[in-house]
């Protein structure tokens, strides 16, 4: 009986502890992310990243590692800073007047804001796929060949052909376009255009592929093809995807990061985030209780 009472006391106490833990969640402190932000041998290691657009503090003290050969999904309501953070990773925010980035972002241990860092090189190593497919107004072949050519990756036409072939094949597009390489990229369907953009990105041998809602303009079948492709591509690259579809985040990623009003609230294994999130805000967002 005494043993039983002890067990009950422990039970109540643990319930109380959990309640206290929940109560302590507010107010949010910048840089206090729930979950493990560290991974072994990260490709990107970001600490205390702040972004300002003029006076506006867009993201606050974001710290997270990005692992190799895995997909990191970033979710959160509009304006939460997930795209802003994504754009930090290949210094796309440099192109926005008034934008200022602070903190440390290391790619393979080297600061991407180093004065010696060539931004064009950086964007080849860290490629990006956008929400709306944006092929160049050129042929399918030229869309893929353009990057390798300006980066001098091919010695001659045969090598360039090889790169184009290989990239289109990896992007799962080769069979559909091999007989029409000279046609304009814009003649393809939306899903094909998006895969063409992925082929264009991987043609320059990136290490990381950033995707900003890559499927939001696509139908479910084209979406499924891109998701399937992501699973294949992660064998060779690290992928960071921003998505508004929680089901997509759950399907494609190994880790998930939840942003809220400029703060990185929670990071964790995707398996856990969607069944057992730790932070109430994450819970509220993924269960559709606000946002």
């Amino acid at each position: 009986m005494v043993k039983l009472m002890d067990a009950l006391t422990v039970e109540r106490a643990s319930g109380r502890r959990a309640e206290e833990a929940r109560a302590q969640e507010a107010p949010i402190e910048a840089g206090k992310t729930v979950g493990n932000i560290i991974v072994d041998d990260p490709i990107f290691s970001c600490r205390d990243v702040d972004v300002f657009y003029g006076e506006k503090h867009a993201i606050r003290k974001v710290g997270i590692d990005i692992g190799r050969n895995s997909v990191l999904a970033m979710i959160g309501p509009s304006g939460c800073g997930k795209s802003t953070f994504l754009r930090c990773l290949n210094r796309m925010n440099d192109t926005i007047p008034n934008a200022r980035v602070a903190g440390s972002i290391l790619l393979d241990g080297k600061d991407i804001h180093d004065r010696k860092q060539d931004v064009v090189q950086l964007r080849a190593r860290v490629g990006m796929v956008f929400q709306k497919p944006n092929p160049f107004p050129k042929s399918i072949y030229e869309n893929v060949a353009y990057g390798p050519r300006i980066h001098g990756l091919a010695g001659d036409r045969v090598e360039l052909d090889e790169i184009v072939h290989h990239s289109l094949q990896r992007a799962g597009l080769w069979e559909e376009v091999k007989d029409r390489l000279a046609q304009p990229g814009t003649s393809l369907s939306g899903g094909q255009q998006q895969r063409l953009c992925i082929a264009r990105t991987i043609a320059v041998n990136p290490e990381v592929i950033l995707m900003d809602e890559p499927c939001s303009a696509l139908d479910p079948i084209a979406t499924a093809r891109i998701e399937d492709l992501m699973e294949e591509l992660r064998q060779s690259y690290a992928i960071v995807i921003v998505t508004h579809s929680m089901q997509q985040a759950a399907r494609v990623s190994q880790r998930t990061a939840y942003f809220h009003l400029g703060d990185l609230i929670e990071v964790g294994e995707t398996d856990r985030i969607f069944t057992n999130p730790r932070h109430r805000l994450t819970e509220d967002y993924i269960t559709g209780r606000f946002g």
């Binding site: 039983l4 067990a7 009950l8 039970e11 109540r12 643990s14 319930g15 959990a18 309640e19 833990a21 929940r22 969640e25 507010a26 929680m246 089901q247 759950a250 009003l261 969607f274 069944t275 057992n276 999130p277 730790r278 109430r280 805000l281 994450t282 819970e283 509220d284 993924i286 269960t287 559709g288 209780r289 606000f290 946002g291």
Partner: protein
Amino acid sequence: MALSLEGHTTRAFDGDLSSLHLQAVAMGALVIEQVQLAVNAYSSWDRSIATLVLEREREINLYDAEIEAAALQLIARRQPMAQDLRAVFAIDKVVTELERAADEAKKLALAVLAESDASGFRPGAASAREARALGRVAAAMIRAALEAFDRLEPGAAASVVQQDEEMDAEYANALRRLLTHAMEDPRRLQATIEAAFIMRSLERIGDHARNIARHVRFIGGLDGAPTRVWPTSSSRADPTERDVL
């Protein structure tokens, strides 16, 4: 900023979850009544009550099928996540436990209707006291488990565990007494064995209640914190408080 807003942005989702929750609680209330009725039928060896138990069993099975179908629909249409997903998953399991508890209660009614003992000796007469004692604990355990399910308080589930200890003690007592009866008069052996099976059924109802408590904890998640997954809690007008007998 408001930390926790009540309910889903999609209000129809609240309606779906709420209806699942209320249906499960209503089914639970029916099962409690069923246990009490079955014990009554058995201990007073009343064929008319036993027949009533069998009729109500169909109603319970219907609840089981309806709730399962509704849970499946909710998963397909809403793709619940996190606490919602755990809750729907748990509801399905809770309902299965309730249905099995009702199956055990049915066995008491079937024993009464079978009248298998040729010598005219009724197992119910030999073990009415034991059946009432075990039945009382079993019904109380289901009620406590349902309250825990309804209010989603992690502490509430603990009381079910406590009652399970009581159940074990009552069960051991009952078997001991039945054994004594059998030794006194070997002609009672068949009836005693039948009665022992009945005691076992009642004890199993307690096990189902304990499993329900486990599923309630699962809804709470890793840290076992109180959740507020039910959009409307029926705890104020407690449907399990109805008195049938």
